[in-house]
């Protein structure tokens, strides 16, 4: 059996599920911060096998979803500047900003290019010396090293036409902000695997230490996630909050110091506005003054009109774990992956999209089908 198959083997899932069902914790709500986990949980049908008293909440862990309309509007304005080619990751394109999405901006004839990596953006800069390539950088700690590497490379190669509009965010201040709000009761947290591989498992110690909330760092395989749920329940059963690193094949206690070193060389923390949360101090990454020439905000100062949200969209509450996507009135009706009103329905890691795509009882087609 391949290594991979061994992480989704039904014969190994069954005893884990037995254990999960047998644990005496009473009703619990566990939150996965990471959008990748939300999708993996749906994709593997984990929700359908968990006992009812265990609720899984999805958190703010999708970088597309937490990007604020203000920042989206800024990206749209940058794309409309003469001589600028705006580049970004694909999912960003369909997110409706205050007035228009980047896809609509592109349809009007402004150059917006999807790139698969920062290196693609750098390559474009090399190919179009007469244009200014602006990379609209979203993401968490996981994507930051690639953005930092792009800046360092641009400097090394003397590229004068490459800059970054950074709206990258840090998960730890985001998680703190969520817990400080006290809106939702989270009894355990499934910690993000990829983020932790960069910043280290120990970065999450504050959860048990400060908030008394157990945390399990998890991989993305079904068995990884089941094992993490079991570990959280075990801690809850004993009443002790601790940190369990169940993704130690990738995540080290101290993380990847080399990658993080590049990030801190190029970026410093700044306040950042999160959809659903507002401004969170020290939760964003901005280019340091010595790299100002690669900072799009510095290079292209622009005024953008006040941002507005779609009145029906409840993405903010979905992202804070206060409501589930199905509680949003427009879910699956006015808001679908084809016609999204909010980012949570757009992003491949967004919770509304995950509910819509994988969840039987909430699926419009199911409703239609069972009516027959």
């Amino acid at each position: 059996m391949s290594v991979l198959a061994s992480f989704r083997d039904s014969s190994r899932a069954a005893p884990l599920l037995e254990r999960i069902r047998a644990r005496e914790t009473g009703p619990v709500a566990l939150m996965e911060f990471c959008g990748g986990h939300t999708v993996a949980i749906f994709r593997s049908g984990i929700r359908s096998v968990l006992p009812e008293h265990i609720r899984m909440l999805s958190g703010p862990g999708c970088p597309v979803c937490v990007t604020s309309n203000m920042d989206l509007d800024r990206a749209a304005a940058l794309a409309k500047l003469p001589g600028v080619i705006l580049t970004t990751y694909g999912d960003m394109l369909k997110v409706p900003g205050s007035r228009e999405s980047l896809a609509q901006v592109r349809a009007q004839g402004y150059p917006v290019e999807i790139v698969y990596s920062t290196l693609d953006a750098l390559r474009l800069a090399g190919q179009h010396p007469d244009k200014q390539i602006v990379f609209f950088a979203i993401g968490f700690e996981t994507t930051a090293p690639a953005a930092a590497a792009a800046v360092l490379q641009a400097r090394a190669r003397g590229l004068k036409n490459f800059s970054i509009c950074s709206v990258m965010k840090l998960t730890i201040p985001g998680a703190r902000a969520l817990l400080d709000m006290g809106e939702v009761r989270v009894q355990g947290v499934i910690g993000p695997g990829h983020v932790s591989s960069i910043i280290g498992a120990d970065a999450w110690r504050f959860l048990p230490d400060v908030y008394r909330v157990p945390v399990a760092i998890s991989g993305f395989e079904p068995l990884d996630i089941l094992a993490s749920i079991d570990a959280l329940l075990a801690m809850l059963e004993k009443g002790n909050a601790d940190l369990a690193n169940l993704y130690s094949r990738i995540v080290k206690p101290g993380g990847n110091t080399k990658a993080w070193g590049a990030v801190t060389e190029v970026f410093e923390t700044c306040a950042s506005s999160w959809r659903g949360f507002g401004n969170i101090p020290d939760s964003g990454l901005a280019l340091r003054p010595q790299y100002a020439e690669y900072d799009a905000e510095h290079r292209f100062p622009i005024d953008i009109p006040d941002s507005v949200e779609h009145p029906a969209c409840r993405c903010g509450e979905v992202l804070r774990g206060v409501i589930e996507p199905v509680d949003c009135k427009v879910f699956g009706t006015a808001c679908t992956p084809e016609q999204p009103l909010g980012p949570c329905m757009v992003s491949s890691e967004g919770s509304c999209a995950a509910y819509y795509n994988f969840h039987q009882s909430t699926h419009t087609k199911t409703r239609h089908a069972t009516e027959q």
């Binding site: 198959a5 049908g45 698969y116």
Partner: protein, 336 residues
């Protein structure tokens, strides 16, 4: 040919265009029908019903592990005929070339088309070339159309699946999608994933010989197995239940999917077909399919059910269930 790149004049209809056709296309596609130099191909009277299909190929990049836009265009059109039960008679090729394309690149692609058509035994009998200004298209677009004959007694139709039918898959899934994606993103895997692109008409003829009342057949190209199953579920108004553990996916494809955050169910395939067949034929069909190289990995992935018409559901490896929805938009790799 003295030029190294395609110029607008290559599409002018003048001497340069003749050179291009005579030096590059004709020798590669050579066959009696084409050599006549007429404006149309002529087929003799046929027994059976005619099947006709067309598709345009705009894949980026032009070359990817295991293939290129050229053989893809040939296989794709053959397969569109094949899954209707038709034996292909001939193909047409329309090339829309962007000014500036290297002639060597074009030659390699034309050569690949030649090889693909020859190996499949399906001639390219007519063609057309246009050159558009730089920026007018992305390097090269190919349109292929094909004509084939469906033998009497064969009635394959997307609306014919019935509850209780067995669903067979002829090959492994996701390889083409990952091959193209890896080339596009410049990611390399330790064992490279190559496209599964291949013609399926011989496999289909063999299958029809074993079970003439195959109800539905389709090749899950863009949108992958997920989209195809959804199409058939709603065309035939049946429910579909498949089994994750039965799906043939290589560890390389699964690994790449995990890395990129993609779902193999929605990745494009170019050399696999799904068939909805009476349960009583399933075993004999599997046996016959596995005896052919293009059906080596054939397997029974699930069944149609009377419940929940229009819905596709999967039993997952850990014993749960999930809905397989119609994909929306292009599948994009995860951001982080």
């Amino acid at each position: 040919m003295k030029h190294t790149h395609i110029l607008l004049a290559h599409g002018s209809g003048g001497a340069m265009m003749h050179d291009l056709i005579n030096d590059l296309f004709l020798p590669a596609f050579d066959n009696a029908e084409l050599r006549k130099g007429n404006d149309q191909a002529v087929f003799e009277k046929q027994d059976g019903r005619l099947a006709f299909t067309t598709d345009s190929y705009v894949v980026q990049p032009l070359f990817f592990p295991g293939g290129c836009i050229g053989d893809l265009a040939v296989h794709g059109t053959i397969n569109d005929l094949a899954v209707g039960g038709a034996m292909p008679l001939g193909l047409s090729v329309g090339m829309i070339i962007e000014e500036g394309l290297e002639i060597d690149t074009l030659r390699r692609i034309v050569q690949a088309m030649h090889t693909a058509a020859r190996d499949a035994g399906v001639p390219i009998v007519t063609g057309d070339t246009k050159v558009v200004e730089r920026g007018g298209c992305d390097k090269l677009f190919i349109n292929t159309a094909g004509i084939g004959v469906i033998p009497d007694g064969v009635h394959i139709d997307g609306g014919s699946a019935r509850p209780g039918d067995a669903i067979l898959l002829s090959g492994r899934i996701g390889e083409h999608g990952i091959a193209v994606m890896s080339e596009r993103r410049g990611v390399r895997f330790s064992t490279p994933v190559v496209t599964d692109s291949k013609p399926l008409h011989r496999l289909v003829q063999r299958m029809l010989a074993v079970c003439p009342d195959i109800r539905v057949m389709r090749d899950p190209t863009r949108g992958g197995l997920g989209a195809t199953l959804n199409e058939i579920a709603s065309q035939s108004t049946v429910g579909i239940e498949i089994n994750e553990e039965a799906l043939p996916i290589t560890a390389e494809v699964q690994g790449a999917c995990d890395l990129l955050g993609l779902d193999p169910l929605y990745l494009a395939n170019e050399g696999a077909l799904v068939a909805f067949v009476p349960e009583t034929c399933a075993d004999a069909l599997l046996h016959a399919m596995r005896a052919m190289p293009e059906g080596e990995y054939a397997c029974h992935i699930g069944n149609t059910i009377a419940d929940m018409p229009g819905l596709v559901r999967m039993k997952t490896g850990i014993g749960g269930t999930r809905v397989i929805a119609m994909p929306s938009g292009e599948m994009l790799p995860r951001i982080c």
